[in-house]
């Protein structure tokens, strides 16, 4: 019984590997990008940039 289960597992594993091989790596990268697209960390830079854009600063800024 255990042997049968093991071989079934092996068959399904190799099928999965076959499926993965059929896709190109770039498809997987595209999928990965889609997965993280909602949380592009560039947003953190954008927020910082907006702040820098609107805040008076630099040598020309009056201290008083």
């Amino acid at each position: 019984m255990k042997k049968a289960m093991n071989s079934a597992l092996l068959v399904s594993l190799s099928m999965m590997a076959g499926l993965a091989m059929a896709q190109s790596a770039t498809d997987d990268i595209a999928k990965y990008r889609e997965m993280i697209a909602d949380g592009n960390p560039a947003e953190l830079y954008e927020a910082a940039g907006e702040d820098i854009w609107s805040k008076p600063m630099g040598p020309k800024k009056c201290i008083a």
């Binding site: 940039g49 008076p56 020309k60």
Partner: protein, 222 residues
């Protein structure tokens, strides 16, 4: 002649308002929306074709009194350059979904386009490479990365439309200048000076080739 008090008041006002909010990125002082879709472009006040980064530096120098040379000589993510990069992220986000429309009308813009094209095909360095070695044919790749064919509109839009971007492998935000700097590094060319004419010319060439492509900045790269 302006009364002295008025002049003094004006200068106090300017000092209190030494922010980038009056920065003209090409669409009028303070206009951020859609600005990066039309950059690089010619600017009358500097009599130069400028990309987003060189233009931000001009504003930091003129409106806030920062030393442009210091920013140019600093490395990426170093000193005031870091602020330029953050402002880039802010500005390019405001053009997301718009169409790429880099102008090639003014004689200086035409000159920069021609220089960009020349630079793109210029082959040299220890590996005898050019930008075109990797980016002038369909279906090329470096390891697992598909490389866009920049000589064609679709490919140019794929390259130009997705940079600046957050780069997952290095865990930081890369501006177009940084991306171009890295292309030159991979070709083993001497390191280009930040915001130098050749880097801006390459952006003009890519941007003009990518006309009407969609802007997806900030992109997300491997």
């Amino acid at each position: 002649m302006k009364p002295l008090v008025k002049t003094f008041g004006q200068s106090l006002w300017d000092q209190k308002n030494a922010s980038l909010e009056k920065c003209d990125l090409g669409k009028g002082p303070g206009v951020v929306k859609g600005a990066s879709a039309e950059l690089p472009r010619y600017f009358k006040d500097t009599n130069k074709v400028q990309d987003l980064e060189s233009r931000i530096i001009t504003c930091m120098e003129k409106l806030q009194g920062y030393d442009a040379k210091e920013i140019i000589n600093a490395g990426f993510e170093k000193g005031k350059r870091k602020d330029v990069e953050a402002v880039v992220a802010y500005v390019v986000t405001a053009s997301k979904g718009m169409k790429i429309n880099v102008p090639v009308k003014h004689p200086k813009e035409k000159e920069m386009y021609a220089m960009g094209e020349k630079a793109f095909f210029f082959q040299g360095g220890p590996m005898d490479f050019s930008c075109a070695s990797c980016h002038a044919e369909d279906g090329k790749r470096i390891r697992l990365q598909d490389l866009p064919n920049i000589t064609d509109q679709k490919g140019a839009a794929l390259g130009f439309g997705y940079w600046p971007a957050y780069r997952v492998s290095s865990g930081n935000f890369w501006t177009m200048q940084r991306r171009l700097n890295d292309c030159y590094r991979q070709q083993r060319f001497p390191e280009p000076i930040y915001t130098s004419d050749v880097t801006i010319a390459l952006s003009v060439y890519m941007g003009a080739k990518a006309k009407d492509g969609v802007i997806n900045t900030p992109g997300l790269k491997r």
